[in-house]
């Protein structure tokens, strides 16, 4: 359970990035935080693992205020995968990279080996175990970064812009993987601009603008709400756009993915035939 209570945050250079954000995330929820650049998305999630401490207000994870514990301690519970894998890879082999956090958390040598094997196979990286992370492709580096966080099995996984720089197939794999994590009971929070990705994942969506939460709700309600989407400077998924354009035909406009669209269109065809 993550609770954010009326949080304000001002960066040292005087920019107020969060102005009064309140939010509660239950265990096992799947959340997507969206909004234009500078809306405060990344600032907000950095509060959850304690990298940033609120200027005013309180953030608590499982009832413990983030003010009172170190980032290292919180990270045990909250895994944070950064946007750019190059900001964290530094070891000689992929194996060492994945083991780094486990060593920091003081896992036993035996357990580290087991966990590394598990995390590598989870992300299809077993064949790269002894390779240098710097020699891998962009998508593979991203997966190494992800494996290095999932290895310690945190209860909450935060992914900052997971889809950037991934080709369509990788994205689809990533989507399945994230959904799988969520069904296994992990709380998953993604920060993203990628509406199509969100539409297919179907999480609980939080729209942010100018350091405030503008709206939250199911992916379907929020992403097909025209005025909301415009206010948050988001372009709705293409499928929804088509149904906006077809509103003259009296078709429903809250269509968000291909399966929905198929159903709606089939219904209409049956009625007319």
């Amino acid at each position: 359970m993550i609770e954010v209570k009326d949080v304000y945050f001002t960066y040292p250079n005087g920019v107020e990035a969060l102005s009064g954000v309140s939010l509660s995330i239950r265990d096992g929820e799947f959340i997507a935080i969206m909004g234009q650049n500078g809306a405060g998305k990344t600032t907000l999630v950095k509060h959850i693992n304690g990298l940033l401490k609120p200027t005013k207000g309180e953030v608590s994870v499982d009832g413990v205020s983030t003010q009172k514990v170190s980032v290292a301690k919180l990270s045990r519970k909250v895994g944070f995968v950064f946007q750019n894998p190059d900001h964290q890879l530094f070891c000689e082999t992929v194996e060492d990279e994945v083991a780094f956090a486990l060593q920091n958390f003081g896992f036993k040598e035996q357990l580290i080996k087991k966990r590394v094997t598990w995390a590598l196979s989870l992300l299809n990286l077993t064949q790269y175990r002894q390779s240098s992370p710097f020699m891998l492709s962009g998508g593979e580096r991203k997966r190494v970064a992800l494996a290095s966080v999932l290895a310690w099995n945190p209860d909450v996984v935060i992914l900052d812009e997971p889809t950037i720089g991934q080709d369509y197939q990788q994205k689809e794999k990533l989507r399945q993987f994230i959904v799988q994590l969520n069904t296994q009971g992990k709380t998953v929070i993604i920060v993203t601009h990628d509406v199509e990705f969100v539409a297919e994942c179907n999480p609980h969506v939080i729209l942010m603008a100018q350091g405030k939460i503008m709206a939250e709700g199911g992916a379907k309600e929020t992403l097909t709400n025209r005025s909301l989407v415009t206010q948050a400077f988001i372009v709705p998924p293409q499928i929804s756009q088509i149904f906006f354009e077809l509103s003259d035909l009296k078709l429903p406009t809250n269509v968000i993915d291909v399966y929905d669209a198929r159903k709606v269109l089939l219904d209409r065809l049956e009625v007319s035939s």
């Binding site: 290292a72 900001h87 964290q88 530094f90 780094f100 956090a101 920091n104 710097f134």
Partner: protein, 275 residues
Amino acid sequence: MSVFDGFKFRKVYSPIHQLDPRVKFFYILVMFAIAIMFNQLLPLILLFFIQLPFVFVAGIQREWARSLRGALFFAIMIFLFNFVFQYFWTEYPLPPSSSLLEYSIAMTLRFIVLVESFSMFFLTTSPDHLGLALEQSHVPYEFCFAFTTAVRFVPVLAEEAQTIMDAQKARGLELERGNFIKKVRNYIPILIPLIVSAIRRSLELAEAMESRAWGATEKRTNLYVLEMERGDYILILISVLILIFAVYVWIFHREQIPLLTNFLAPLELTVTKMS
């Protein structure tokens, strides 16, 4: 970061900012030379105060003071080393007298004068002007460009270092843990990604520039050209006069520069009498 803040240029205008960077550089070279020439306290104190008018005319007191505060740690180290080593480890150990104290203070002040003039130079000279000055001093353009780019990328790298630190902290890295050697080792996970990404970035920058025809023309011309003005000639005159005076004193009266403790001697005498 406070040390570096003292060397970061901010865009403001003052007579000092307008001066030609070459002239300013000549001036600080003179200051350097004099600071190295003398190891007595009196001339170094004079040297310290000569620079203050520049700082106040430029209106950079706060940043300048911050750079001095940043240098405080090193200043204290220099003072202690001089004092302790002169006392214990020289062939003819000086007794811990007031003259030893004066010598150590002079050495510390020499360092402070160097930092002070360097900081004054960088606080009042924009990186662009500096590049221009190098170029007009017939330094090859490639070097000038590399220099200005390096200066300009410092804040970018600082920001990146912060992100990397965050990313590694999120993987359980505790920078402050362990003894001194462990603490130094803790920085490896931050330095390696920083260096790797800096190299990657520079390669990308090189490609981007070459694809925009960098270096296509043999003879480059500049939109802005540095020209010497009245203020520049005045500063050169002042610097040369100071230099001549200093060299004169150094050659003919080096031995006669009084120790400040000599002025205090009568005082000391009265103190010992009283006790």
